[in-house]
């Protein structure tokens, strides 16, 4: 099996699903001729033509809004938002329409739409190029939110997302696009949505993370006996895998890039406070970004959890 990076893995997923299903179309700013600013869609225009790979005007609201209309009509649009922050204009289309179309029409219309976007820190880009606001989308009923952490699961999860019957927000950690490679089968395969994975087994602390922070947590775990869970699907998350691990270890540390207040870590910790409190030896720790605006490049490494901050949380967890 070839070792490839995440950009190549996502590109494969898109190409193979477009090959397999003529209803899959790709649209976004610069996704065609330019192949996407991260080259994720490279080659798709040549292969599938401008009717299925569409370079669009600079209109995020309409990108998602048109996606909803296409999906209702029977296509399976994969919309690329160039950076996560630029999806904010489209939140109404996602929240008031994409997530509700099935419920509002009692199943007559559905919205099999994928909104892909790079997210998180990592490229030292300009302002608003480092967002990790996944919690906003996780709060919306009727949608799935997915974050891959390796080339392998990027491909498998994206294929599942495209085949899913409802809308999926698919967040691609920009820092991981080219920084890791893994073995990825050449043909199409799926990694199921809604399932987490024990990325590293351990006995003393359950660590829950996803995307970039998964790897940082692994790095920080040296010297601790951590069981590290790659959440992968953030909404709905895999309660069983999380619970089983915490029952075993009795300690939980959640690591995420987003600001702490009302981040997904809150939901995970609240879940544990409700369902696992009798198994917990000590406090559920969240290692997250501060209650502050995401800084520009010069300070962004101080903003997101560092290995040091994560280790400190492990140490504190081990006090109990």
């Amino acid at each position: 099996m070839a070792k490839i990076n995440m950009v190549a893995a996502i590109n494969q997923a898109l190409a193979q699903e477009m090959e397999r299903d003529g209803d899959v179309v790709v649209m976004g700013e610069d996704v065609g001729k330019d192949g996407g600013v991260f080259r994720v869609t490279e080659g798709l225009l040549d292969r599938f033509g401008p009717e299925r790979v569409m370079d669009t005007p600079l209109s995020e609201l309409a990108l998602v809004g048109c996606g909803v209309g296409m999906a209702a009509y029977g296509l399976k649009p994969v919309v690329e938002i160039q950076f996560m922050a630029f999806a904010y204009e489209a939140i109404e289309q996602i929240y008031s329409h994409a997530t509700r179309l099935r419920a509002r029409s009692r199943g007559r219309f559905t919205c099999p739409l994928v909104v892909r976007t790079p997210y998180g820190i990592g490229i030292k880009g300009p302002e608003l190029h480092s967002e990790s606001s996944e919690a906003l989308f996780c709060h919306m009923p009727g949608i799935k939110v997915v974050v891959p952490s390796t080339p392998y699961n990027a491909k498998g999860l994206l294929i599942s997302a495209i085949r899913d019957a409802g809308p999926v927000v698919f967040l691609e950690p920009a820092r991981l696009y080219r920084s890791i490679k893994s073995e990825v089968p050449e043909g199409p395969f799926t990694v199921p949505l809604g399932r987490a994975e024990v990325f590293q087994e351990g006995k003393s602390i359950t660590v829950i993370a996803w995307g970039t922070m998964l790897h940082r947590a692994v790095e920080a775990s040296e010297g601790f006996d951590c069981e590290i869970i790659d959440l992968m699907t953030l909404k709905p998350f895999d309660e069983e895998t999380v619970l089983n691990s915490v029952k075993k270890t009795g300690r939980a540390v959640i690591v995420h890039e987003a600001t702490r207040y009302c981040g997904l870590g809150a939901e995970l910790a609240a879940f544990l406070a409700e369902e696992a409190i009798m198994h917990l030896k000590g406090p559920v720790k969240r290692v997250a970004s501060p209650d502050a605006v995401v800084p520009m490049a010069a300070l962004e490494d101080y903003y997101v959890p560092t290995a040091g901050r994560i280790r400190k949380a492990f140490e504190e967890a081990m006090k109990y």
């Binding site: 209309g69 029977g74 099935r102 009692r106 007559r108």
Partner: protein, 355 residues
């Protein structure tokens, strides 16, 4: 060096039948007697539904309702031009469109009674559930039109919205997409001159809404929205154009909302009786009646029969609607996703909605 004119635009206004019932021979030429009768009867049906909905609301039998009184020509005239494969993207004030398309009347009542099943569109009818957030359905129509183009279907997407809706970002981005990709879409703005209490002139400083089409590189036309025939002709032309790869059209139907915004509104707070009375004199049925009389298509009995028929239909629908079992709480959860989430599974039990 230069100081020159590089582009010119003209806004066209169409009226096929004037207030006295005189028809423009060219514009009406392609319209059959049958079509004119269908307009008349559909307006009667819409109005009958509308009156009953208003009374049911007063009696607390349905919730807030948005009357279409005054705007029936815009809705019925345009809806009659639709073909089976066209798709419609309505706002919340499109009763006339739904009914003209043959939507089950009892479901319309169900919807206004606050029940999602009222918008479980029957198979074969291509109209989306009414969009409540103003203007947000516009990009959906562009998207469906795009899908039609991609799939090579001979069909068009038709979107309805109000003058208020034309101020939203969705309008701009949606119409611009339609222009760039030359999509088979028809955008119908019912300019009823009010967005709740905000008059048309305070909605935009532009003289017409039709002229906004120039921003997107396609045609816009203003039509007398109280002239069912004019609206029909304009819509039909736009649909034809769309299906022949001619791209989108923006049609502004210049009309008037004769009732309160909804049953929760009191329009006397912000507009004069005189204005309303003046527009009552221009309501669409009057001129259609005059036209049809001239054409020998109208008699008192004919109208009476049409009214009776509409009443019977609406009465039966109300009975059906009210006999329909109430929605089940578990439906709240069941229709959100294709499959239940772990949390939903638990919730169904927790709330006692499933064993």
């Amino acid at each position: 060096m230069a100081d020159e004119i590089i582009e010119r635009f003209e806004v066209r206004y169409l009226q096929a039948v004037d207030e006295s019932g005189n028809a423009d021979p060219i514009l009406i030429a392609s319209v059959s007697d049958e079509e004119i009768k269908r307009s008349f009867e559909s307006i009667i049906l819409t109005r009958t539904f509308n009156q009953r909905a208003l009374s049911l609301q007063r009696e607390g039998r349905i919730g807030t309702y948005a009357s279409v009184f005054g705007q029936e020509a815009s809705q019925v005239g345009s809806a009659l031009a639709l073909e089976k494969d066209d798709w419609v993207f309505p706002s919340f004030r499109e009763t006339g469109v739904f009914l003209t398309m043959g939507y089950p009347i009892w479901q319309m009542f169900r919807y206004w009674a606050g029940d999602e099943r009222g918008m479980k569109i029957p198979p074969g009818l291509n109209i989306l559930p009414m969009s409540v957030p103003v203007g947000t359905q516009i990009p959906h129509a562009a998207g469906a039109a795009w899908a039609m183009k991609i799939k090579g279907r001979r069909a068009a997407a038709v979107c309805y919205f109000g003058d208020g809706g034309s101020s939203r970002g969705d309008f701009h981005e949606g119409l611009n997409m339609a222009g760039v990709f030359n999509l088979p879409a028809v955008f119908i703005c019912q300019n009823n001159q009010w967005a709740i209490s905000v008059p048309r002139r305070s909605q935009s400083a532009a003289k017409t809404i039709a002229q906004r089409a120039f921003s997107y590189g396609f045609d816009g036309v203003q039509v007398d929205g109280n002239d069912a025939v004019g609206v029909y002709v304009a819509t039909k032309a736009a649909l034809e154009k769309a299906k022949n790869k001619g791209g989108p059209t923006l049609i502004e139907c210049f009309t008037y909302r004769l009732d309160d915004h909804t049953t929760s509104d009191d329009a006397s707070r912000y507009r004069s009786k005189e204005e309303v009375e003046e527009w009552k004199g221009r309501e669409p049925l009057i001129r259609l009646r005059l036209l049809m009389r001239k054409m020998g298509l109208w008699t008192g009995e004919y109208e009476k029969a049409a009214i009776e028929k509409a009443r019977a239909l609406v009465d039966r629908a109300i009975e059906e609607e009210e006999a329909y079992p109430p929605p089940k709480p578990e439906d709240i959860i069941l229709y959100t996703n294709a499959e239940l989430t772990p949390r939903q599974f638990k919730e169904l039990k927790e709330f006692g909605w499933r064993k």
